[in-house]
């Protein structure tokens, strides 16, 4: 991993169109601003992983799944 040291207000440029700026530092929290093209998705890592894990769980399914789903009464 490339490691760079930045001060508050300083930025990192990635490629032509991604810019990451340290907006503020407070205790053990760092506020980061990200400028990126719209097709680049930016997510908190743990949330991105959580969505993937939930998808894996949701797709596992249950053997009798079709019987568990409630039927709409007619």
């Amino acid at each position: 991993m490339l490691v760079l040291t930045r001060k508050n207000g300083e930025s990192i440029q990635i490629g032509d169109d991604i810019e990451i700026t340290v907006i503020g530092i407070k205790g053990d929290q760092v506020k980061i601003g990200i400028n990126a093209p719209k097709h680049i998705e930016v997510h908190r890592k743990e949330i991105y992983l959580e969505i993937g894990q939930e998808n894996e769980q949701a797709s596992t399914g249950l053997a009798n799944l079709l019987n568990i789903l409630p039927k709409k009464e007619k």
Binding site: I51, N55, Q57, L66, I68, P70, K71, K74
Partner: protein
């Protein structure tokens, strides 16, 4: 084309029925083509079936049916990726993690699946500024049948 499905056996699907998830789905980034299959006698749920992988299928539902207050904004990146221009072309569904008994099932309101009905592009959109979680209990009280 003919596909193998998890819940519907072998079946024929037309090219124009295929939904294109160009960036895959989190956890399954290589899965880019799916079909939406109805469940017989059960209009509340549909199956999102991978066309490539027989065993990959999700249960989807219309979140607004179970939670009338569900609300989110489609971000600009998603609008661009799906080439969404007209509100009437949008459909949104959520993935259900089914548990037995069904009341313990949850829906992923934090990452709805957005469909562009005009071009068959779709994407699971992760909401960034939201209170919704990946496991929301929305099935504990089923809405009364509307006949």
């Amino acid at each position: 084309m003919s596909i193998s499905t998890k819940y519907h056996g072998e079946m024929e699907v037309a090219q124009e029925e295929i939904w294109h998830f160009d960036s895959g789905i989190p956890g399954f980034l290589n899965e880019k083509t799916f079909v939406l299959l109805p469940l017989e006698d059960n209009p509340l749920f549909q199956i999102l079936q991978s066309t490539e992988n027989k065993n990959l299928a999700f249960v989807l539902t219309n979140p607004f049916y179970f939670n009338k207050n569900y609300d989110f904004k489609i971000d600009e990146g998603t609008l661009e990726q799906l080439s969404l221009q007209n509100e009437k072309d949008v459909a949104a569904m959520v993935i259900v993690t089914v548990k037995d008994p069904f009341e313990k099932s949850t829906a992923n309101l934090q990452a709805p699946v957005i469909f562009n009905l005009s071009n068959q592009k779709a994407k699971q959109m992760i909401l960034t500024q939201t209170e919704y979680k990946t496991r929301e209990f929305i099935f504990q009280q089923l809405p009364a049948s509307k006949g």
